[in-house]
């Protein structure tokens, strides 16, 4: 007994040494390669991995004692799930989850339909310059920052000077006293935000589908034409079925991210107006407001960890599905 265990121990040690030697040997042999990786590794460690360990803050009553994070962390008291209990006890927990999920679902479904539609009809446009011009102007909004987009929306919807309230609606015969208060009525924002989101991303989302359509073998269409199929029939029976796998995969990958939202859209375009929170507050903006405006580290970190964990589970499961359909398209 004693001899065998010491023998296995020895083998273990030898293996450990070989393994250690392996890494050290590699480190020595490819010193330059490791040095080349170093800057990125340092950034990843500070920017990504340290914060991953930092999720433990959510289980503490975090307080500032000094300028050192680790000291503050160590001195802060463990409170278990208390932060989560506070968070789930507020009505906000439900509101922000509902808003985040519903907006994302709307963006995914409408975005899919609109971008596939535009990609298909763009393919039918005769004339190279025309289709190039259309594509270029559709893509333009993608290059604007959310701040610039917020200005554009504000220039249209501002209650004092906005084009819609000052020129458009009165010109359409609307009574000046009953003009809508855009930044005061939360009921309008699900529509506004969906339109703004489509406006910004349709051109971008279209590109992938345009490329996929361009990659379809022309012989399918030639054969269909010889058989007398109309162009619309060809779109229905050739283009759409051949695009379906890509549509399914991109949709699944987007579903993996439904717990995350575009901070700029919900924060800047709405101008972070409190009166609109009921329909515009999402997890990302809630965490920001809790951390920076309310200074409530516990609540912010609890909501943040809730998002990270749900997001992680969804990404894993959606990727699992993608993998089943097309292993080449899976993230991992």
């Amino acid at each position: 007994m004693g001899t065998t265990s010491s023998a296995t121990k020895k083998v273990d040690n030898v293996q450990k040494i070989i393994y250690k030697h392996g890494f050290l040997y590699e480190l020595k042999k490819n010193k330059v390669l490791f040095i080349m990786m170093l800057p990125a590794l340092v950034v990843l460690f500070l920017n990504n991995y340290l914060p991953m360990a930092g999720v433990l803050i959510a289980f503490k009553n975090f307080k500032y004692f000094g300028r050192n994070l680790f000291e503050n962390f160590a001195k802060s008291e463990w409170v278990g799930l208390e932060n989560f209990e506070f968070f789930t006890a507020t009505p906000d927990a439900f509101t922000i989850t509902r808003n985040t999920l519903l907006y994302n679902l709307a963006f995914i479904v409408i975005g899919l339909i609109v971008s596939v539609f535009f990609a298909i009809i763009l393919n039918e446009i005769k004339g190279k310059y025309k289709s190039k011009f259309y594509q270029a102007s559709m893509f333009l909004p993608y290059f604007m920052s959310w701040i610039v987009v917020s200005y554009l929306v504000f220039a249209l919807l501002s209650e004092e000077q906005g084009f819609v309230n000052k020129s458009l609606l009165p010109a359409l015969g609307m009574n000046v006293d009953s003009l809508p208060s855009w930044y005061g009525d939360p009921g309008k924002w699900p529509f506004i935000l969906t339109i703004v989101n489509m406006w910004k991303f349709t051109g971008y989302n279209c590109v992938v589908y345009v490329a996929a359509i361009a990659g379809i073998d022309q012989e399918y269409y030639e054969a269909a034409t010889v058989d007398g199929a109309s162009r619309f029939y060809q779109i229905k029976k050739i283009t759409l079925p051949l695009l379906t796998p890509l549509m399914v995969i991109l949709t699944l990958l987007a579903v993996g991210r439904v717990f995350y939202s575009d901070f700029g859209l919900f924060f800047s375009v709405t101008r972070n107006v409190g009166a609109l929170y009921d329909t515009t507050s999402v997890i990302d903006t809630y965490v920001y407001n809790a951390l920076r405006n309310l200074n409530d580290v516990g609540m912010a970190s609890a909501a943040g960890l809730y998002q990270s964990v749900c997001g992680f589970i969804l990404v894993l499961s959606s990727n699992l599905l993608v993998r089943k359909i097309d292993p080449d398209k899976a993230l991992f």
Binding site: A40, V153, L156, K166, V226, S268, G304
Partner: protein
């Protein structure tokens, strides 16, 4: 030749539907461009006209006051503009260099730990610690908030770009070239600089464009990490002015009471002029941008 043959064989939609599709696109293209025209129109309008009749596409009374004000008394705005340019250039160069070096190493098939290190990058795409610990690391541990580093460090490495670059190296740099450089006695770093980089120029250009756009349009990092108004970039000043128009008065170097400045200041048109100035460089570089972006997106879509 083949193209001509095809167009002879393939049928197309009827002229009626072709017209309908064109109309749809003309309307949509119009919708994409028109809000920009509104902002440009307002920036060239007389301030008093705005107060009385609101924002409009065509200036009823044409005026260059807003731009004059921005260039004469908008010290803070000029500084922010310079800062944005500087951050964009330095940030893009550093980021592309760091990403390229890392992506190159994990693209090398003879590098034993390439999968381990690929995973280290990749994992950041599927899990993150969230805002609070991230914020704590920068403000309570690294203490680089309120420095220019805060604009650059968080954006240096992007996992998605690393993956695109790795694929690019794998498909465009043959192993045999690296091998023969080694045999000729070139060190690893020299091989990378003189042989690999020239072959990877189109890929690097794509990443550089993505990052240029990212740094130029960034307002999130100053929102999180910058409090010192001397360090605000253009987008952040724009943001500040959107939420409180008085901010422009603070940002100007005119002395006197805030109310007095505000009454003189063409604030409505000046902020739109700032917005136009922020879009300017993007519109100028747009044809170039768009071409490479489309290429980059389709490269990335093939396989990350």
């Amino acid at each position: 030749m083949r193209q001509r043959e095809n167009s002879g064989i393939l049928n197309t939609v009827s002229p009626f539907w072709n017209g309908v599709f064109n109309i749809i696109f003309i309307l949509y293209s119009f919708a994409c461009i028109i809000p920009l025209l509104l902002v440009i129109g307002v920036s060239f309008t007389d301030e008093k006209t705005i107060i009385t009749s609101g924002y409009n596409f065509i200036p009823k009374v044409f005026s260059l006051e807003a731009y004059k004000w921005v260039f004469q008394s908008g010290d803070a705005i000029i500084r922010a503009y310079g800062l944005s340019i500087m951050i964009t250039i330095i940030g893009t160069l550093c980021s592309v260099a760091i990403i390229a070096m890392f992506a190159y190493v994990i693209s090398r098939k003879d590098f034993k730990y390439r999968n381990t290190f690929s995973f280290i990058v990749f994992f950041t795409m599927i899990f993150n610690g969230g805002l609070v610990p991230w914020y704590m690391v920068y403000t309570n541990f690294l203490h680089i908030n309120d420095t220019l580093l805060a604009y650059i460090v968080p954006s240096l490495v992007n996992a998605w770009y690393v993956m695109i670059m790795r694929t690019f190296f794998q498909t465009n740099v043959p192993d045999s070239i690296i091998e023969s450089a080694k045999i000729d006695g070139a060190g690893e770093f020299r091989t990378f600089l003189q042989i690999v980089i020239p072959l990877a120029k189109p890929g690097l250009a794509t990443i550089a464009l993505f990052q240029t756009l990212g740094f130029w349009n960034d307002w999130y990092l100053p929102l999180m990490l910058i409090e010192n108004s001397k360090l605000f970039n253009l987008q952040y000043i724009l943001y500040k002015t959107l939420t409180a128009i008085q901010y422009l008065a603070q940002a100007s170097n005119v002395t006197g009471g805030t109310a007095q400045i505000l009454s003189k200041l063409p604030s409505e048109t000046a902020r739109m002029a700032m917005c136009v100035l922020a879009i300017g460089p993007i519109i100028l570089a747009y044809p170039f941008f768009q071409k490479y972006f489309v290429k980059g997106l389709t490269v990335g879509a093939v396989k990350g």
